[in-house]
């Protein structure tokens, strides 16, 4: 019973240090009736990493996760865990922990039986099972809930039981499919912290799927942004936020202003472009030539009202009309109509100055170093 699992499963102490698995996706593809859900994803996930697959619905992130778990068979490409291809291994032999969006707790089993389920499949005897279940419950701070049924728990508690169940057999890889999607904002934030803590304590590899960019930014070591079945960008949260390489990434992660322009030349290492009559300088990327049409991007919180004349050479300026001013707690959000009809968003910490009224004509300034070509 469970003999095939023994080499990878420590039977003794549940939570001794085990290194996380390294996962390699090589040209991974999945077509459903010839429609490509995942179209050639190659990605190396490091041992012990917290990697998030981020993307809108239909981007292929969940399909990718399901292929790693073994619930979907790739149409092409390979999945290797620690260098060994797993595509032909059925899910029940992959030894991967998985947490589902709707928890997928067995309704006919108690909390203890749910968490003990993977241990039972591995032929671990009753006494060891009880001890490991108790340890696992303590890790998610639900000690004493052994005899409850899932329906007697709140959503957050259910998800913590699901986490405990996914970790109790010490998998070296834990997959999470929008685990916090069904919870309200406050609970989500407290569970985000809890999941981060578990990741730090266990040291195993986490692959986390979400469509929530804020969640991805706060939790991940690295984020793989997916769009329409391909990998749009891979990088640390700061990299993705500060240096998005495409309009999609720039608009999907955080908010961005986009200024279409025509290259006029380069100056002190900055690209100079004409955006509907306004000269805008931006950090050079690639090799833009004079006359090229490019798209510049700048984050709303990098824009500011230039009430005091500033003549720094690297400064970008545009005159604009305020079309709307929205108070949003710690920030004020201004919608603006820039010179030449460019729509702009400016975010300013609230309380800095009196709120400006719509209709006012203002001067907007921002640093050339905050402007990028996407």
């Amino acid at each position: 019973m469970g003999a095939w699992l023994e080499p990878v499963l420590p039977r003794g102490d549940a939570f001794n240090g085990v290194a996380g698995a390294a996962v390699s996706l090589v040209g991974l593809e999945k077509r459903f009736e010839n429609i490509g859900a995942v179209r050639g994803v190659s990605l190396d996930i490091r041992s012990g990493e917290f990697l998030t697959l981020l993307g809108p619905s239909g981007s292929g992130k969940t399909t990718t996760l399901m292929m790693i778990a073994g619930f979907e068979q790739p149409t092409a490409g390979d999945i290797a865990i620690d260098g060994c291809s797993v595509v032909t291994i059925p899910p029940y032999r992959r030894n991967i922990g998985m947490v589902f969006q709707n928890y997928a707790l067995f309704p006919h089993l108690t909390v203890a039986e749910n968490i003990g389920f993977p241990l039972k499949q591995r032929g671990i005897d009753r006494a060891d099972r009880a001890r490991q279940v108790a340890e696992s419950l303590a890790m998610v701070r639900l000690s004493g809930y052994e005899a409850r049924y899932p329906r007697q728990l709140s959503g957050g508690q259910q998800q913590r039981v699901a986490l405990a169940r996914a970790m109790v057999f010490r998998p070296r890889l834990l997959l999470m499919d929008e685990p916090l999607g069904a919870l309200d904002k406050q609970l989500r934030e407290s569970l985000q912290i809890e999941i981060r803590r578990l990741h730090a304590e266990l040291g195993i590899t986490f692959i986390y799927v979400t469509h929530d960019q804020e969640e991805a930014l706060t939790m991940s070591d690295r984020i793989a942004v997916m769009n329409e079945g391909i990998l749009a960008q891979l990088g640390a949260p700061e990299d993705l936020y500060n240096r998005p390489i495409s309009r999609f990434v720039a608009s999907f992660i955080g908010e961005s202003n986009f200024l279409p322009g025509i290259v006029r030349g380069t100056e002190h290492g900055f690209v100079v472009a004409d955006c509907a009559g306004t000269i805008v300088r931006s950090v050079a990327s690639g090799n833009p030539r004079q006359g090229d049409e490019i798209l510049l991007s700048v984050r709303p919180e990098r824009l500011r009202f230039a009430d005091v004349a500033s003549d720094k050479a690297a400064e970008n300026r545009i005159s604009a009309t305020i079309t709307d001013a929205v108070f949003a707690g710690e920030r004020c959000r201004y919608l603006l109509q820039g010179h030449g009809g460019i729509p702009l968003v400016l975010k300013e910490p609230s309380g800095l100055a009196a709120r400006r009224a719509p209709g006012k004509i203002v001067e907007i300034a921002w640093a050339a170093s905050d402007t990028i070509v996407v």
Partner: protein
């Protein structure tokens, strides 16, 4: 946190009490209720009351019942037949229900049509069909003798076996439909979760699918058992001469114009059915399953 969760559980567990029943929906069901009262409930009540009032108030029919060896034999046959048929339909129906849920929708619809086909044919026709198949010179015996497997035709028709085969066939949909309904309600994520946690296909079935489908099994068993208790045409046509079912005994008594005794037998049949329904409905999971069937 704990206390908060505790109160919410208590609140969820409490049933909403019927306070003011709106009158509109009641009017909608009124015609059917009146119809059933006039043409079903009243005649049944009149018939059953004859068991204790004909010709005057007496329990003699029931005392006679309890001492009647024929009745006791018939009751045993009826209960045994119902039990065998119930077991047969569940064993044969479970895989079919599972297949209906697992197959692609197009194929599943074909299976559903095949399952429902018996519903569209009268019980009489189906029973005659079994007579044709099982008869001494029926299809099965002819085929077996022609291929030389047996030399003399087997006695298949007019045996308990024939009754069981024909009744299982007729009652299969009543087992399959509630089973399929419950199986369909099982969240696919649970099966994936079980597999991901290390359970192979058999263990997923044994530890997740089977326990979660038990309400469907119970619902199917209840339906088939109760329907079997009252079977008349099929056992009369294909069954053996000694395998009298309760409904056949009732018919005999009616033929003999022994109305009070027939009424007492009917009351007994009804009571057995009601007790069974009452007992099984005490299982909350089963109520849920039956609601699923009704949907």
């Amino acid at each position: 946190m704990t206390t908060l969760a505790g109160t919410s559980i208590a609140a969820a567990g409490r049933r909403p009490r019927l306070q003011a029943v709106p009158i509109g929906p009641l009017l909608l069901v009124a015609p059917l209720v009146l119809y059933l009262l006039a043409f079903y409930a009243l005649p049944v009540a009149a018939m059953l009351s004859r068991s204790v009032t004909d010709p005057h108030w007496t329990l003699a029919n029931y005392t006679r019942l309890s001492a009647d060896p024929v009745f006791l034999r018939v009751l045993t046959t009826t209960l045994t037949t119902a039990a065998i048929v119930t077991a047969g339909t569940i064993v044969l129906g479970y895989p079919v229900a599972l297949a209906m849920v697992r197959l692609r929708p197009a194929v599943a619809n074909i299976v559903l049509a095949v399952v429902l086909l018996p519903f569209w044919t009268s019980v009489l026709v189906r029973s005659y069909a079994w007579m044709v198949l099982l008869g001494r010179h029926g299809l099965i015996n002819e085929a077996l003798t022609a291929t030389g497997i047996i030399e003399t035709p087997l006695r298949l028709l007019n045996t308990p076996l024939a009754t069981h085969i024909a009744m299982i066939h007729i009652l299969l949909p009543y087992a399959i439909l509630p089973l399929a309904s419950v199986l369909r309600q099982i969240d696919g994520a649970l099966l994936r979760a079980a597999a991901g946690l290390g359970a192979n296909r058999w263990r997923v079935f044994r530890q997740v699918v089977l326990p979660l489908s038990l309400p469907g099994v119970a619902a199917g068993m209840l339906l088939v058992f109760v329907l079997s208790l009252g079977f008349y045409i099929t056992p009369a046509l294909v069954g053996g001469p000694r395998d009298t079912m309760l409904s056949m005994l009732i018919a005999q008594q009616v033929d003999l114009l022994n109305w009070p005794y027939a009424a007492a037998l009917s009351a007994t049949l009804l009571a057995v059915a009601l007790v069974l329904i009452g007992l099984t409905l005490r299982l909350p999971a089963l109520r849920q399953a039956l609601r699923g069937v009704a949907r």
